[in-house]
Symmetry: C2
Subunit: 245 residues, 2 copies
Amino acid sequence: MKQNKYDDAAFFAKYEKIPRSVYGLDGAAEWPVFRSLLPDLRGKRALDLGCGYGWHCRYLREQGAVRVVGIDLSEKMLAEARARSADCSIEYRRCPMEDIAFAEGEFDLAISSLALHYIEDFPALCRKVYRSLSPGGSFVFSVEHPMLTALAAQEWHLGPAGERLHWPVDDYQDEGRRHTRWLGEDVLKYHRTIATYINGLIEAGFRISKVIEPSPSAETRAQHPDLKDEHRRPAFLLIANSKPE
Amino acid sequence: MKQNKYDDAAFFAKYEKIPRSVYGLDGAAEWPVFRSLLPDLRGKRALDLGCGYGWHCRYLREQGAVRVVGIDLSEKMLAEARARSADCSIEYRRCPMEDIAFAEGEFDLAISSLALHYIEDFPALCRKVYRSLSPGGSFVFSVEHPMLTALAAQEWHLGPAGERLHWPVDDYQDEGRRHTRWLGEDVLKYHRTIATYINGLIEAGFRISKVIEPSPSAETRAQHPDLKDEHRRPAFLLIANSKPE
């Protein structure tokens, strides 16, 4: 059984209250950057890996996608997603991301937002996604940055007065399981190097088209005190890829 | 005037004594990985940016390159390079890397070993290198890893007994000058994010073919105590690229 943390009632009760659960895409600081990587969506068939509440699925439809399949392992997530939209062109399917099986070229676009650090074998997933895309198709995703996942603690190194001295990196080359804490609960993530992400994509056949390590502007950081240190180390890694024509 | 640290007599006297100056490619831990990224060299015309003592230029010739141009800003470096080989198919040229000007398609391969973190405008250099390569040509380089250049100190965070607690990262998104110390001297480097390296290449027209963050094996680390912590954070970033046919 793959980790299904989001069907843990205590964890989910906390997850429901974080900004991106309450405000959706507007509550996700990296969303404008993610959106900028998406191709023209009109007429596209799209796949969302780790769709959660379905925010991205609904966005894709609003922008003209003709069919959207959202995959998630959590029944609670999918129940929320279904409750938020009756759009019969969005299909929510309960399945581990690693087990997806689609026809060759069934989609024109695959996306994933902050979910692929939960899977163990990234190169294998790349091969499946590549196969499921039509020639010229796009694969756009975000993950927690490898600088964030290297140490399971995922915390700033603090000084004697609790001030944030710097971000600590260690065990970077030791890829694999990280037993982290999030929202006060145990969450299993998989750490991978940047090289493993990029080479997994290239070896599957993708062409890398852009890499973004987003950082809020100085203005945004001034307005949102909780983001004030977000230029000091990258929190997310976004990669846009294309399947050659 | 571009930084020409290697013509500083005191600095050069120290540089002459480090393992990679004494032992050449065999003294560079990342060399086997760098070499693995090179294409078949037979019949190739090659450019080496920041050629130093000319170790790579001579290797390229040994492997069958028909013409090699080595660029360096330091006359001391080039004097060493010229003294080590009378091969008239290697041309050593004194020039800042940023100022290179070659005919379109003049080379089949461009390489650079641990030199591009000394230049300010990486995307501009990518455009020049791209233009100088023939279709199907390769660009392979190594730089200090952005996790290493983020903080000018470039030192482990130590515990009370001097033990290496972790590698500190800070100011990652603030690209630009870093006044570092190396071999007891001031050395100016330029910090860039991983995204800036990769997007600079893609925007110039290159296809990324492989990214390596090399790490010595557990066996090598056991044999070489000075490498024992090299799996804890990446020290180098190597990127292999091709110019589409």
